[in-house]
Subunit: 356 residues, 4 copies
């Protein structure tokens, strides 16, 4: 396994959906940083399943317990370990999945890799629940980047089931205008409502939907990142693809730039007072892997939740024959809204690793 | 800098566009493998600039010289170092770029990072020429994967300037049907011709175009890759974003999956004789970061060549004021065709690193 | 911080002497391995402080709690996290150490690195107590190496305060004859008794003593390890120097080989039945960084416990002037006996990382 | 293979004794540093085989050619690659070694690992000749540390064949007084002469001798290095064990500290003007893995040259039976003098990696 990310800031995520606890060990975080625990808790609650119709009704008291590295809410320089105890897990829901893998899930590939010892309950280590650990690490990094480096990171749901939110202004992304208090964090409340309608429609049809999240960081100084394999894009992509269900990542104009002319896609340099800037930001904040001081902007495609109530074709791993599968239990018809803070967390961890 | 990729197979790329030589050091490649030098040479020539109207007329005799690790064309287990001498470089073309950075290039970010010592001639270490080194390493890995592991990798130009080639069949990608002998490697020759027209049109308008490349690997056994941060997608994305001009990477159905229903996107498992397979391959060969035995398929978006002949706005770094820039010299109006073998090379290096 | 070790098997150690818990996250351990918890517990108790006169009287109930990665004592392939809750910590003993650093301890260097936020209580992350985490990881690796690979690892106290135990036979180290049930694990019980006398003498004189531990692994197949920087010696030395108080590491004949002639030091190859072996083992099981199938043998020098009851010269960090220091509290007059399982654990983790 | 060292400064060494060239790729070295090529050349010549009776008479024109990363002797921020062409190699000397491995060499272990493809000529990648590459990287790092960081590194032969040089003063090592112009770099010229007598005596008896090198760095600021596995000692040991023939490494008082009392070994803190220091330096400059500002001092044990002219017992790998071996060709009866700059280089690379 390799649930470890980073060079200078190493995070090591552990836990399964139904293990005693899940958690994260953060190695390399600077000493003397006061964690605003209330803010961290508020951040984590954005990822936690709510009571809305679009989320699972499983209650998660996802309050992390810092068992090392933090004294009186201040980091002491030693590795930080935070855990979340697992409670209220209904293991019986998953009893038949060891035999019949769920389409779109890691059940089958985990079976091939780990055999019968794989902890399949609730998806085990592959569960989306593990992103809570990423969010703990990311939540601390977000605070550090903002307070110590003047870097701010924010994301919004850009699209769900074909319904689009207003896009970020690439030069001045409206991070502060994202309505994070809504069930779906968007810039345009109406778009959010229509997204919700689509989610509910899919749910009522025993189905699920996917979407796209747009994430931006402002205040990143020019010169961060390395050419070739350790650039801004390489490192962010590496961690973002670690969030379950992500199927694509693009920076700046991304795939749209493939259809532009050079004269249209190139961002001309200009003076912004004394500061060198660009008039547009199709490059998404990185040139040659190195930050340009323009906002770093990426979008990630999230596939529809694979767990749907509809009957699906699958196979019996014990009998080696095709077998229909009906998934019971509670499942989000759309995980995109809850993935928004995960994107912010991933970007924060990645930038912290590069900036330290 | 961090022009090093891989864990078990480490490649370290060096050189600047106008340094004495460029090259790659490959550490961890198995001993006893006979490199088919003719095949490698043919592979490299696919990346080399041709004589066609769509490519730079600079002649590159990109024949690598193996200065270590290979005895009588057989790897000896020691690190392999291959270099390509740089010749026929017209340094004067680039003389004014240190003062006025080219939009869309790394000139400015490299200046911030390395100061005046940065070797700006020909783009220095950021030059697309350095992908020749990736192709040397990748070319060897391609041979190894095919001969020793039964894994085949192929790519084609999926789109240029909005003109689309036929897509790969995701379950059985037609790797053998890609017309690599054409100036633009496509499945559908007509599409290739129309792409070429668009390239020439852009050129005549002193402009450039971008595109999308689709790359597939068949024969990858199930169980390769690790969950979270060392999965198939994480590692391929990390190396692919190391190829200049890549702005997005997607796997399987990618961004399109964001608009699908779960019932539509999920790949149902089925029996293919005695073997477990899926009927469709929207997942692109990896579930939970681990290969499923279905073809691994990714697409990469390539922005239009930033070097265009049209005048562009920029700034003078010495005078800190805006200044118009006209780029002279030879430049590809479209680098997408030459990037096709680079994608194959990147995927081969990444899979080799995971499989060794 | 960088309390992370390994490539294929990554262990990440966290905790401070007085944090809520200490622990280790083990990433990359194979699935399906049954941990013999009783055996692990017995192994850990060898490191735990006993009731003997030579150890601190602080009671440590060092039973690890596996919060992830293990289901019904069987590894499931996911990262394993084990923690030990800290209890019975007498924090007040250490109140003055933030001002006046203890000679021979990391108090001063930690202050320089982490400032006043450093958790100095009980030595914080630098405490010898953290070796319990190494022993958890190592204890599991020892079981794995023995059961799955036929590799056995054992260590004994080679020397304390100048009193020497019988040395291992380098070709057939008597791992089974080490008397681990004694307060000091030795081959020769008499030597152990004389060592204990020296420890008690030092204690009565408010002082401490150091020593040397010899550790051997048998059954390591030829061909393990890499040349140059990832060889057997490099990797073992890297982890062994992570055990507090280690000041030197030598392999095979070690420093003694520096005084030998080549004809004396060279280990001539011979046939041992059908197997190639060497008659002697001055090389300590590795040639060119690669294992030879002979036992891997190293010795580590452990300095005397720096915490002594005698008054010592130090400085006041707040007043920047010299100040005498008297250390109160409980301290081992000799940590060498408790370090024996730590050496076995370190070697096991290192070999596991190379063999996986 | 893993001939790669470092995190922030990565060096990747390639080449075999008889390959076209040997060399090193240095990734991560800062831009804008002027390399004093004359000084580098002088440093490399200290490692080169001389004309003295104690060294091989093979002439090596070990002048590196910088093929990338350096423009007009100034680093440009891109990876630096330097190569040394191999000339004047007498391959025929080594013809029978593939069949009969030399005792004390890596011939056998390389055969197990790489099979018949291993390039055995001259020891291949295991040849001491490869340390020239380490010395190129280290020579540049030495200049950087001295000019940019005020850190100076020097080493001397501490012992050969039992004849000892004066030891460094651990608090103020006499780096400037090492007589590097002599065939054997020592503090005490008489000791050096007696060492040479021992070398010549061994040579005349068709034998070889080993020794110990002491290496020190002054000016290292307090706070460098990380606890546990990335400390000063861990990292230096990891690279030093990459130098062929090293069998032990100790820091500060090293193995001698194992025989001291705590009161004797502890270095009491004191004020040195306004600066906190210690009166003695038994700790060798690192406490808890972190530098204390005292000189970092290590000693490395070098085994006697395994290639001796005396007949030795070995085995035939093809016939699987014992067979006597007589090694012909030119071999140093003692490599210790030539290893002195290698130690300085290793320490410089390791410190640079930690300080960048």
């Amino acid at each position: 396994m390799a649930s470890v990310f980073g060079e200078k800031l190493k995070i090591s995520i552990f836990g399964q959906s139904h293990s005693e606890a899940i958690g994260v060990c953060i190695d390399g975080f600077p000493a003397g940083f006061r964690i605003d625990m209330e803010k961290l808790s508020a951040f984590l609650s954005r990822r936690a399943p709510g009571s809305g119709a679009h989320t699972t009704s499983r209650k998660e008291a996802d309050l992390p317990r810092f068992i090392s590295g933090v004294v009186d809410n201040v980091t002491c320089g030693s590795p930080i370990c935070a855990i979340i105890e697992n409670t209220n897990t209904r293991s019986k829901d998953y009893s038949n999945l060891r035999e019949v893998p769920r389409p779109g899930h890691a059940d089958y590939t985990a079976f091939v890799k780990y055999g019968l010892s794989h902890d399949i309950r609730g998806g085990g280590h592959f569960s989306g629940r593990l992103t809570a650990c990423l969010c703990i690490a990311g939540g601390i990094c977000l605070q550090y980047l903002e307070r110590e480096k003047g870097i701010r990171i924010g994301a919004h749901v850009s699209e769900i089931a074909g319904v689009c939110d207003k896009a970020f202004d690439m030069v001045s992304p409206e991070i502060d205008k994202v309505k994070t208090e809504l069930p779906i964090a968007v810039l345009d409340e109406n778009a959010g409502e229509r997204m919700m309608e689509e989610i509910l429609r899919a749910k009522s049809e025993l189905d699920s939907v996917g979407g796209i999240i747009e994430c931006a960081a402002t205040g990143v100084p020019a010169g961060l990142g390395e050419p070739m394999f350790d650039g801004i894009e390489n490192n962010i992509a590496k961690i973002v693809f670690g969030i379950p269900a992500v199927k694509g990542v693009e920076f700046g104009a991304g795939f749209a730039s493939a259809r532009m002319r050079g004269s249209e896609n190139n961002d001309e340099f200009c003076m912004d007072g004394d500061k060198i800037s660009t008039k547009t930001n199709n490059h998404g904040g990185a040139l040659g892997g190195i930050s340009s001081s323009l906002p770093i902007v990426f979008r990630a495609a999230i596939k529809p939740t694979p767990s749907i109530a509809k009957a699906q074709g699958s196979v019996s791993l014990t009998e080696n024959k095709e077998k229909e599968l009906e998934i019971t239990g509670r499942h989000d018809p759309c995980i995109v809204p809850r993935a928004v803070p995960c994107m912010e967390a991933a970007m924060a961890v990645s930038l912290c690793d590069m900036i330290l």
